[in-house]
């Protein structure tokens, strides 16, 4: 089926909805939001701790301080012009969310309540600052719900349970997408002047992850298939506090409220590594501290986890400020967080890298920042590079609202300036062939086994502590798995609501993403932020103060670089 809209937004998480809302404010512009999940199911809803903005509701705070923390937190791989924009617009965006109806927790005077979060400091690193605006520990849920509600109010057109299959590019201009109606298996072509990808992250490449089963990086890989490079893919964040074995996230807000990490002997080990910020040091560091403790035999009972201690906070704080966390711990561990220690381990959490864009969400194709006209990306799938080598807690929600908003605004302008680009002949041929192959292969490899193998390998070799050997080994395994994947066969032959088919396609994206992540990690022979190499343990600004851009070419992957934009803050050693 053929549809024609002015704008297409793929993905109905925070970034996609924010953009759609901007577009909806222009009555002349017809917008459709395509999402493989119902909007309210998007993973933005899982975000807990808060959204950072220098409102200064409790104590003095400034966007510049926020910018500095972001740059330093990202180990100076941050594009500082983008970070400045983000931290400045964070403030108005948070107010805008409040005006949309977002039920923030309140201070006694009735203002938006704020709390501490890892890496957020006053006066360029002096002491922790209360910057994270929150709604209990359900901030992401509230953002997602509020934006969805506003979209309903503005009568945005949703195509829910439509899975993106392909991007349509004609002569370098992006002019549409191909999507599958999951329900009846029909292939749809959406023709548009501007297309935004806001398809979220890909944590499912790892075994222990806080990410949803549907976070498989579809948008990222589909863009890459059309010549878009992927930026800084080696920068993947592991959040220190995932529920042991399950990976379910326990918000950093827990430590923001005063929670403490302890090793087997009950020691608060962060004192040894980060004497100022302690448990609230940035995530990459805390995750590494935990791995270090485990490596040196101080994990609980010698195993690969440590404890999160909330017992000194009292029932009031736990039940009122961290109610969902308490619920998770009770349901999944059968533990009472008010009285007992919680077993935690680092969990694959957030992609700093992704589709490279400029500060208006336009997808850029190279170090010269040439754009692909009509193609935009925002949110976790994109890389404006505000997070650099490590994202600070609360900054992703800022990222999605600020850059979702900017992308939406820019699209509105773009749409008014250009005409529709004609579709190339048979734009859906590739997708139909892909589907046809998967649906017709009688026997072959099992997707589940490939997936399991991939996730274990990535967890083991491409996670918090990396080495050349491990990465090489992982590279080989992934190559083998990709081979196996070309022979993968599924059981379900129906076109009607065939979820096995979609899961199998998603596995394909995960394999490609893993391959690119490893490629990036291999060339970056230094340690920076989330990317820590045991064999190159220090940061190397002389050689690696630059972004990686990995291109898929017919002859395999090709790595290029892009300079980091530095405006105010010269790289310094990162100590907390």
């Amino acid at each position: 089926m053929y549809h024609r809209f002015d704008a297409i937004v793929v993905g109905a998480g925070g970034a996609g909805l924010m953009a759609a809302l901007q577009l909806a404010q222009h009555p002349g512009i017809r917008t459709a939001v395509i999402s493989k999940l119902y909007p309210s199911r998007s993973h933005t809803g899982a975000a807990q701790g808060g959204i950072g903005a220098a409102l200064g509701n409790h104590e003095e705070d400034h966007p510049e301080w926020h910018t500095f923390d972001t740059v330093k937190g990202g180990d100076y791989l941050v594009d500082q012009d983008a970070a400045e924009v983000m931290c400045r617009e964070a403030v108005e965006s948070v107010y805008e969310l409040e005006h949309f109806g977002l039920p923030f927790s309140r201070t006694p005077e009735g203002k938006i309540d704020q709390r501490r979060f890892g890496g957020h400091t006053r006066n360029f690193g002096e002491a922790p600052v209360r910057r994270s605006c929150f709604a209990a520990d359900r901030t992401g849920h509230m953002i997602l719900q509020t934006l969805y509600q506003q979209c309903i109010k503005h009568e945005v057109d949703f195509y829910s349970e439509y899975q993106l299959l392909d991007l349509i590019v004609n002569d370098g201009v992006c002019c549409g997408i191909v999507a599958l109606n999951i329900k009846d298996g029909e292939v749809h072509i959406f023709h548009a002047k501007a297309i935004l990808f806001a398809t979220g992250g890909f944590g499912r490449a790892w075994k222990i992850t806080s990410n949803a089963l549907s976070n498989t990086g579809d948008g990222v890989m589909i863009a890459a298939r059309h010549g878009v490079p992927l930026e800084d893919m080696e920068m993947y964040q592991f959040h220190p506090t995932g529920v042991y074995k399950l990976g379910i996230l326990l918000t950093e807000g827990a430590r923001g409220e005063g929670g403490i990490l302890r090793n087997d002997s009950g020691e608060r080990f962060t004192e040894r590594y980060a004497p100022t910020l302690l448990d609230l040091a940035p995530r990459d560091m805390v995750s590494r501290f935990i791995y270090q403790e485990v490596k040196e035999g101080r994990g609980i009972k010698g195993k690969d986890y440590v404890h999160l201690d909330l017992t000194h906070l009292g029932a009031d704080v736990v039940e009122n400020k961290l109610p969902d966390l308490a619920d998770f711990v009770r349901v999944y561990l059968g533990i009472d967080p008010v009285r007992e220690l919680i077993p935690i381990q680092p969990t694959a959490h957030y992609a700093m890298g992704g589709i490279p864009t400029d500060i208006d969400g336009r997808v850029v194709l190279n170090a010269e920042e040439d754009v692909m006209p009509g193609f935009y990306a925002a949110g976790e799938c994109a890389c404006v590079s505000v997070h650099g080598a490590n994202r600070l807690g609360t900054n992703s929600l800022v990222d999605i609202v600020v850059f979702g908003r900017r992308a939406g605004k820019h699209m509105a302008r773009h749409i008014q300036e250009v005409d529709f680009t004609e579709l190339p002949p048979k734009p859906d041929a590739f997708s139909r062939e892909q589907l046809g192959q998967l649906l017709s292969r009688e026997s072959g490899e099992s997707a589940a086994e490939i997936r399991q193998h991939l996730q274990e390998e990535m967890m083991d070799k491409v996670s918090v502590l990396r080495t050349e050997d491990k990465l090489k080994a992982a590279q080989k395994t992934v190559a083998q798995l990709k081979q196996a994947y070309t022979r993968v066969a599924i059981q379900d032959r129906q076109t009607w609501y065939n979820s096995e088919l979609l899961e199998t396609m998603e596995l394909g994206y995960l394999l490609d993403i893993s391959e690119i992540t490893i490629a990036g990690a291999l060339v970056r022979k230094e340690s920076r932020g989330a990317h820590y190499r045991d064999d190159y343990p220090s940061r190397d600004d002389a050689n690696f103060l630059k972004h990686t851009l990995v291109y898929g070419t017919p002859d395999g992957l090709m790595v290029r670089y892009k300079p980091v934009k530095i405006t105010k803050f010269e790289p310094k050693e990162r100590k907390y």
Binding site: S40, Y95, P108, H141, A212, I248, Q494, Y497, E500
Partner: protein, 232 residues
């Protein structure tokens, strides 16, 4: 441990009527029922169809009937249901395939109660103020993840699909009790309709089913009392 899992199957495009498939799976007692489904789908029968995403009870995808009660498959552990389980789709909506039901009518009802803040006054430069006490009045109902477990557990809804149902009412409550909202009355018009809140017969199945622990029945009672007492 080994579990026996009986699942109601139906693909309207090929099956004449629903039937049960029985599977056995090897899982841990601390696994979620969703893990059981995944194990079956991935290693035994790829045609088994259900929705899921977050796997930890926050996205609302996988509400289904587990041993006769609406639950999120990802929020029930195997040890809590035992080694025999019967899994069926939610009641009251058309089954699209196996455990997947048609959610369109559900979201239509949600939209019908105008689930968004209505305040036409120009917004201030900073936030609109709201005291913690006022914020607390609607805290419970902001937790809703639109999973439909409540609505599809409600007997009046099963027989009368026009009933707006507890989920929509919970979301109406969310705004009616928000001090920043100005047009509770508009919303109330819909809620007080023949198939509005007055259809609720205080059965409490909804409260029992809500995976977010929302006091669903109480929210509706608060709405009823508000309609009754606030007669502006």
């Amino acid at each position: 441990m080994q579990v026996t899992c009986k699942i109601r199957r139906y693909n309207p495009t090929v099956d004449e009527k629903p039937y049960f498939s029985v599977y056995r799976a090897e899982v841990e007692p601390t696994d979620r029922v969703l893990d059981v489904l995944n194990t079956i789908k991935w290693y035994e029968d790829g045609t088994l169809t259900y929705r899921r995403s977050c796997a930890h009870g926050v996205c609302g995808s996988d509400a289904m009937r587990i041993n006769g009660r609406n639950r999120l498959a990802c929020k029930v552990l195997v040890r809590d249901v035992g080694n025999r389980m019967t899994i069926e789709p939610m009641m009251g909506f058309k089954v699209l395939r196996d455990l997947v039901v048609d959610m369109e009518p559900f979201f239509e009802k949600y939209k019908a109660v105008k689930p968004y803040l209505i305040n036409d006054e120009p917004a201030p430069v900073t936030e609109r103020l709201q005291s913690p006490e006022d914020r607390a009045k609607y805290d419970d109902t902001t937790k809703c993840i639109l999973c439909a477990a409540c609505t599809t557990s409600c007997p009046p809804f099963w027989s009368n699909p026009d009933f707006v149902g507890p989920a929509a009412l919970v979301n109406a409550h969310r705004f009616i009790f928000d001090s920043r909202d100005q047009r509770g009355a508009d919303r109330a018009a819909i809620i007080s309709d023949r198939d509005g809140v007055w259809r609720c017969r205080t059965v409490f199945n909804c409260t029992d089913a809500c995976p977010r622990g929302i006091q669903v029945t109480n929210a509706m009672e608060e709405v009823k009392r508000k309609l009754l007492y606030d007669r502006a």
